[in-house]
Symmetry: C2
Subunit: 244 residues, 2 copies
DNA sequence: GGACGCCGTTGATCCAGGTCAAGGCGCCCG
DNA sequence: CGGGCGCCTTGACCTGGATCAACGGCGTCC
């Protein structure tokens, strides 16, 4: 047994000063909509959780009992076909939220990619706060709209882009999101496996690997230690991503 | 010049009894969230428009000045790559809404597939109503969540399904949505061209055509007059759609 | 410290679906 | 009523990426 059970939820409302005020990613999250007073109400219902890599947060079809905020790490969302084929519908990083549902069931599964911290908001209590704070509702709506736009980009990628264009788009997307979070955008961290990338882009691991090799040979990127990728020519990579 | 200019917007607030009360698809739309009093406020800002087939409603990158509700007909949403490759991200029917945006620009283009009626809500005024009627906000959020779930299904389809599975899923999807609108679900109307279907499913028109022929030869469907498709064995079609 | 297993890479071959080409069949328009 | 133009279908062939296979590196567990 470990000295601290980090998997056990931590009720933050219990401590004197709630942690949301000091949350380093607050400005990125749904919580940025709130003032101090409201924030403390949110803190009353939140549970912090730290999860190892490759842990399931919830599975497709589970009762959708919570909403979540990623505060550190990486999460993947995916859907499966009965024979095991998998489509990863998104990767989430700090500041991103997950857990929206229709008909009270999650429509996809969520799993950590690396060690990850999340805030869990029980849906019932969250619904109450949403009624009480329209700002929160609006912020959630705006984040869902952004998600929807990203989903449409991903459909264009999946339906109409070549392997090379998919990989280029993927790397640029990772880099831009890192920048938005205030993290290093070049070289960019690529924490997920080839197999995860393949299932996100509608490819196989072999094709992902070959395409990285090819972009490297073309002098567009470099593969670095610690799953980092250096973008050597962003202009060219952008052109490739757009089919140029 | 035509005797009536049906393309000219019709301000409905001007007439004595607003038309939303009698709207035949109200229960399907965002408007179902509202009571009579609120509905008339919505009617004050709405413009009804009737459009011929293949008319552009707005284009990707346009200032997002309105939200829309489809009340009759069919609309397609799509994104283009610079070289003209196209991905249709969704088809809309009566009751569906469109026009959500991020950063005040539409992220996709919208075009009618057949003769179509839409309600146009100017964004500025809509925003005011959203503030005033949280129910409306919640309804819009819920519809966006549903859209998001559909987008994830479509990603699974685009990334991981075969041509046969894609066509089967497409027909079942059309049929189920028709049923939800209270329309005939079998035989099901397929108002869009092979080329539209191809660009929705990430295929070519040739492959779409061949796959229809193949499903017909297998006795799963029949192609009828007037762009209708009869589903002869829904169980088999469902199995095909899920990779069975 | 050795063996095993997982991940990533590379090579050889295959095939689903794309591309190119040719008609057929309505439908509109003169 | 005839010609032309979009659509749809079908056929022949091609190819990008999948599949199958082998192997090296590296971490983990006896």
């Amino acid at each position: 047994m470990p000295p601290f059970d980090m998997g056990r939820p931590l009720r933050m409302g219990a401590v004197g000063v709630h942690p949301c005020g000091a949350c380093p990613v607050r400005s990125l999250t749904v919580c940025s909509a709130l003032e101090e007073e409201e924030l403390s109400r949110l803190a009353d219902i939140v549970q912090l959780q730290r999860l190892d890599s490759h842990q399931t947060i919830f599975s497709e079809g589970d009762a959708a009992s919570s909403l979540f905020n990623v505060t550190a790490g990486t999460v993947k969302l995916y859907k499966l076909l009965p024979d095991g084929r998998r489509q990863i519908t998104g990767f989430l990083f700090s500041g991103d939220f997950l857990g929206l549902s229709v008909h009270d069931r999650y429509a996809y599964s969520a799993e950590t990619v690396v060690t990850t911290s999340i805030c869990r908001f029980p849906r019932r209590q969250m619904d109450t706060l949403l009624e009480e704070f329209p700002k929160l509702q609006r912020r959630l709506f705006s984040m869902a709209s952004t998600e929807l736009a990203a989903a449409q980009d991903q459909m264009l990628l999946l339906g109409r882009k070549t392997a090379r264009e998919k990989i280029a788009s993927f790397l640029l997307g990772l880099s831009r999101r890192a920048a938005r979070r205030g993290q290093r955008d070049n070289p960019v961290q690529v924490p997920m496996s080839r197999s995860d990338i393949a299932d996100f882009l509608g490819l196989t691991t072999e094709t992902v690997s070959r395409t990285f090799t090819q972009l490297k040979a073309n002098g567009v990127i470099r593969l670095l230690e610690g799953s980092k990728v250096q973008i050597l020519d962003e202009g060219v990579l952008t052109d490739i991503a757009e089919g140029g």
